[in-house]
Amino acid sequence: MEVMEQLTGMIESFLFIVGDEGLTTKQLTVLTEREAVEVIEALDLLHASYEARGTSGITLKLLGGAYRLVTKSEFAEDLKRLLENPSSKSMTQASLEVLAIIAYKQPVTRVEIDDLRGVKSEGPINTLIAKGLLTEKGRMEGSGRAILYGTTALFLDRFGLGSLDALPPLLQEEANEGVDTDLFMTKFQEAFAMENDGGGEGS
């Protein structure tokens, strides 16, 4: 029983982290290093526990083959208040992310910004243009002719900067630019590391 509880908790922590994409039974089997039957049993247990608990705001849903944690539908109306309420910082965070990317990388296209953030940035970009903090800085060479964005004088003014050079340097940690890590290299390095440490698993 305790083993099952532990597996259930582990699965919940995995599902919590992956967010909207969810995980398939197969993925969970690989990740937890357990048998599929155990994983399914744990998922049932998790679901039952969400449903039984009146204090639970979330539950487990199977959508498109993947299990994901979602908020209970009874709170959908309440959650709408997050949209209206400016006290939730996530909207500010989105705007600030976009602004930071553009400030440091300008001129930059929307696609590049989307890539960096991993989410669509059209909304924040438009809002920031409307506020006069961003502006179009011409078009990219080539077929697409994508719009290039940059910051405005108002941006410098609002953030108390004399010029763009006054931006404090950013710390680009361990060059995680191209996150689609070359699979071969990764695998190869792993194997190489294994060779070197004598192939210990839990090294």
């Binding site: 197969k26 709408k80 909207m91 965070q93 600030l96 953030f159 404090p168 996150v179 695998k187």
Partner: protein
């Protein structure tokens, strides 16, 4: 003194001094100045590779140490006659200021260690990226507060990097672990079984995408390491052959 000191091990002259005090088991409230000064200067000599600007900070403290040492050797008391067995006036101990600095610095050095511990502890908790609000209705981008500064910009950027760290490798590792080396190793052993224990190295790489090929290659390496199989080549540029390794080989 024959021990070697690593430069990077010290965060400055005070750090070095604290190190010496600990190593020599000196009472910080009653520092034997002559001994400490000598040790300190000896250390500086072994640290000659120091950058000049860094060295200057160490030298300033060396000068301070020497100054204190000399003051202690010549306790001059104004308006008083020299007394042979004069008691050392604790009120004006020339070491006071140094001791105060060392103690103050030690406090924060200690606090830095605690901070590191709490950061390590914190790294055991993972949170998630915010969910998609657009499922609840139209997202209105709220007004930005007037009080935002460049530092908020940097904070937002750092947070974004964090989220990426959480997301990107996760999906990658899920994809990667979809087929494990262990599974592939079994496959290779089964192939060998079917071809009566020997097959061409090439034949194992005839199908699959790039990641499959990598997986096959790694599985072969692992099987070789575990001494399950033998990969041989009879001459330069000959075809490699893969075979079961017999006991005792």
């Amino acid at each position: 003194m024959s021990y070697k000191v690593k430069l990077e091990a010290f965060e400055g002259p005070l750090d070095l001094l604290l190190h010496l005090i600990n190593r020599l088991e000196i009472d910080i409230y009653d520092i034997p100045m002559a001994e400490l000064t000598q040790q300190y200067i000896e250390h500086l000599q072994t640290m000659r590779v120091l950058q000049l600007d860094e060295l200057s900070e160490y030298l300033v403290l060396a000068a301070t140490l020497i100054e204190i040492k000399s003051k202690m050797l010549l306790p001059v008391h104004e308006g008083e006659e020299f007394d042979d067995d004069m008691e050392f006036d604790m009120e004006d101990d020339p070491r006071d200021e140094l001791v105060a600095r060392l103690i103050e610095y030690r406090k924060y050095k200690e606090a830095a260690i605690n901070l590191k511990e709490s950061a390590d502890e914190r790294s055991d908790y993972f949170t998630r990226t915010p969910g998609d609000l657009s499922v609840f209705g139209e997202v209105i981008i709220s007004e930005m507060e007037d009080s935002l500064s460049v530092f908020d910009l940097i904070g937002a950027f750092q947070k974004m990097l964090d989220r990426k760290r959480l997301k990107a490798p996760l999906t990658a590792s899920i994809m990667k672990t979809e087929r494990s080396v262990g599974e592939k190793m079994n496959e290779i052993m089964a192939t060998l079984e079917r071809s009566s224990g020997v097959c061409d190295f090439h034949s194992l790489f005839e199908e699959g995408d790039r990641s499959d090929l990598v997986l096959t290659f790694l599985s072969l390496l692992e099987l070789m390491k575990r001494r399950n199989i033998l990969v041989e080549q009879h001459g330069n540029f000959d075809e490699l052959t893969v075979s079961f390794r017999r006991e005792g080989e």
